[in-house]
Symmetry: C2
Subunit: 335 residues, 2 copies
Amino acid sequence: MVNPTINDVARIANTSKSTVSRFLNGYTVKKETEEALKLAIQSLNYHPNVNARRLVKNHTQSIGIVVDDIANNFYSGIYRGIENVANLNGYQCTYYSRTSNYQGEFGFMDLAQERQVDGLILISFLKRSNELIKRIEELMTPVVLIGDTNSNDTIFSVDVDNELGISEVVRYLHRLGHEKIGYITGPDEFSATHWRRKGYEGALEDLGIKQNPSWIIASDWSESGGHKAMKELLDMNEITAVIASNDEMAIGALLCANELGYRVPSDISVVGFDDIPVAKWVYPPLTSVKQPFVEMGEKAAIGLIEKLNGEEIGTQSNRVLIKPNLVVRQSCRGL
Amino acid sequence: MVNPTINDVARIANTSKSTVSRFLNGYTVKKETEEALKLAIQSLNYHPNVNARRLVKNHTQSIGIVVDDIANNFYSGIYRGIENVANLNGYQCTYYSRTSNYQGEFGFMDLAQERQVDGLILISFLKRSNELIKRIEELMTPVVLIGDTNSNDTIFSVDVDNELGISEVVRYLHRLGHEKIGYITGPDEFSATHWRRKGYEGALEDLGIKQNPSWIIASDWSESGGHKAMKELLDMNEITAVIASNDEMAIGALLCANELGYRVPSDISVVGFDDIPVAKWVYPPLTSVKQPFVEMGEKAAIGLIEKLNGEEIGTQSNRVLIKPNLVVRQSCRGL
DNA sequence: GTGAAAGCGCTAACAG
DNA sequence: CTGTTAGCGCTTTCAC
């Protein structure tokens, strides 16, 4: 009825619980007690109580991954990256969804303080408050961030190099002969919005292209938002290309252009960001910027594990920005 | 340096640890000790050690959700459903990805036996082995299944009614005048493949439409697989409509038809299954069958929690099949 | 190699 | 309402 304990197996195997414990932890025991032990464990269907073990060891061998919304599939590649290196290092990954917690990422600080996990990876592409950052700094438990961080990089964090990504798009379009490039930007509360826009404006400036503020339309990441923004842009009748700061908006833009009788790319070029799977299925297949999710997850996990091992994080800085890749398909043409 | 314990707060608040424990657990204490306690907790930044608590209480107030691959975003709606009801009932959700464990769902039985969680929801759309089912039956810990189960329904499980879903598609197409309907089926190792196909064949039979086995092409859920299958179907030059058993294949079919100079829906009608977000963005917008993911998650969580509370699962059977919804868009036309 | 004993941080009688 | 006490199941000295 009640679960078997280490005492039960000790009794059955005719030995002491310390011996059972040692055996369970990989220390050598006399050949014959080993046999008896195996038999006892097997027959009792014994499984160690992980809570007892964690209590005495004071660590869990598990890392917690906290996401804004587990049902948002967007950054799933990150998970894979994290699992890869965590498992390689003997850590179990457990995922927590922030949706269920009204306190946002704050609520999950407790996970660490309550000793549910040894360390935390916080994934969010929303801007993070100074208050949150301060709380994390005060924490004894190692935490690494994916996405936004504070400006002075006191906490180890990784992100995609959004600025570079968009700036490469601008350069690409410029090489194709475009100079009149519209930009559909995302919501303010995301840090990526800021950096991507910076990439757009910075590249135009570097290239010596004159900018037109009315060619920047703010939107909301959604397909319908992109659609609406594109209409505004097209109505101006000035632009030869548009960069949407994510793929969904780019797809909306594509759809809008179609409906309005424009052909992509012959009448107007469109590029997106993220390279979601759909990007290659739409018509025309969308040129986009591929986010290096797996690598981001790996880097974050490596950073966390180094902290858990008490190692100084190598030569690298506290902020690692990973270069995304431009994926050229058929939604742009040379002028 | 070391984490504060209940003893530390007792000492500082000048009381005993039992009182601290009671306070922490919501029992009333004298007003003034309450004040002292709050102060002590605050100043020490005390957080209870959840492992100690779990050890003595012998339960965790958390349920484990095990998925094939956390990076597979497909069933994310299910998570939302589960979180909804779990949180309402005071349970924390923790997610585990099977990918990291070579033993498949088996490995996660341990989660329960090790007392890491109070109950488990296993999500997988692959067929499950009898061996797995037997292991689950023997387990003391409550487990509920989403997806496949065994035929005699000894374990509580929920799934979408795949058979009904496809059969409604067939009826819809039939109402439109189609009788020559091709079918692109999925891989055998998924239980949905079986039920959806059954829905296709059953509906044809019910409708008295003669079947043609060569109109059924096996594929692999992928867009490129759907593309290839569609080519075979189109080459026969006999069919007026095709049902793909998921949206990705349907999109491949759409793309293929386009390339081959067929127009959808005027030359050929296409319908998918799942209603993934993309379905409405492709051209023409794809008619599909919407999976009731949130509801599936909710039903599963309700079932689990009833078991955790030791309640008999009400009047309902051990197998709950949720009706999906046909979403009509523009990829089919009447003959 | 192995057993006895102490203790991880907490809860839950029990007696006051 | 509160303190004392005895564990929860495990690991880890310390002797032997």
